[in-house]
Amino acid sequence: MIVAERKPLEAIVEMLDGQRKVLAVGCGTCVAVCFAGGKKEVEMLASSLRMATGINGEPLQVDETSEQRQCEVEYIETLDESIKEYDAIVSLGCGVGVQYLAERFPEKRIIPALDTKFMGGPTEAGVWEERCQGCGSCMLGSTGGVCPISRCAKQLMNGPCGGSKNGHCEIDEDIPCAWQLIWESMDKLGRIEELMEISSPKDWSTSRDGGLRRVVRDDLRLPEVEDS
């Protein structure tokens, strides 16, 4: 899932300066399950904003709604009519959701209420951890299911650096060394020998370095109909 976290309330209030009536829009997918932008978080933020602005002045009118997914036009187009009465939209979606709302409603100011952190999952109740950087060329099949791109600070391809100490990374002793995990996983699988082969440099053109990325599935595209 995409993991996000609410911005400091002060930062959101600052971005709302000059607005009178706004709609807080949640998202029922990734940010809902990491408790950052679901229905309940929309209610909590809306209440907080009304209170924060109401203490010293006229409270901001903050109405609440939530869509199943902000990152698909088919879901957010249901706001087409109701959005007209608002000065601005406060999005509790990830960065993708915020941009889809901005594209759909170009005449409205969009305020992002969350900071999108990473792709990951919960490791225990209340804790989420990064697992994927979307490098575009997954190598988990050869690393025992442990990602050296997202879990190694140096994104090393051929074993740990000299900073691996007692199975932990030198940048933080709470962070396990990814290559230690890879070694242990491959050992359990009886595949240690494969790690002795030197990996060639990774092709980063499939990652962010290639600019805006796009996935195209021709079989799913709408067929072109020729005029008769």
Binding site: P8, L9, E10, K40, E43, M44, S47, S48, R50, M51, A52, G54, I55, N56, P59
Partner: protein, 155 residues
């Protein structure tokens, strides 16, 4: 020097049926008074109390919110009071962000047999809220009808 007359605070107290609610009952039965400003809401366990309940009570004008649960380690559902305490701390931090005093929300722990202690905690809560003064949002809400809250909102 004129003294500002004391206001009577409105304090919502979410009380666990297994302990604090019974303690409040015992306090009353023992003729052990506590401030009438404490408005008790019975809950099956303080673990049922959501952060939203606390925030919305304040948004709707309560001057303070008290969550009264079982003694640590004595929760009827094992850990409900511990969850409640974490939520209270979360909301206290949020209140500071909002610009309200964290002291408007407080967690207390009593057993069903601690009627006297419940009354003491309730008095302390009322005194501290009187010292903080009225919820500034309450004054703004004066005259406006109470907001309708659907329970499913917080489920």
């Amino acid at each position: 020097m004129t003294q500002t007359p004391e206001f009577e605070p409105q304090i919502v107290a979410f009380c666990c049926l297994h302990c604090a609610y019974a303690a409040a009952d015992l306090a009353g039965g023992s003729r052990c008074g506590y401030p009438s400003s404490i408005k008790i809401v019975a809950v099956p366990c303080t673990g049922r109390v959501d952060s939203l309940h606390l925030v919305k009570a304040l948004e709707d004008g309560a001057d303070g919110v008290m969550v009264a649960g079982c003694l640590p380690g004595r929760c009827h559902f094992q850990t409900g009071n511990l969850y409640a305490n974490q939520r209270v701390e979360h909301v206290r931090a949020l209140l500071e962000e909002i610009g309200l005093e964290a002291g408007r929300v407080r967690m207390v722990n009593v057993s069903a047999g601690m009627g006297v202690q419940f009354a003491e905690r309730a008095k302390e809560m009322a005194e501290s809220i009187i010292a903080l003064g009225p919820n500034p949002l309450r004054a703004r809400r004066a005259g406006s009808p109470p907001r309708e809250i659907a329970m499913e909102e917080t489920n």
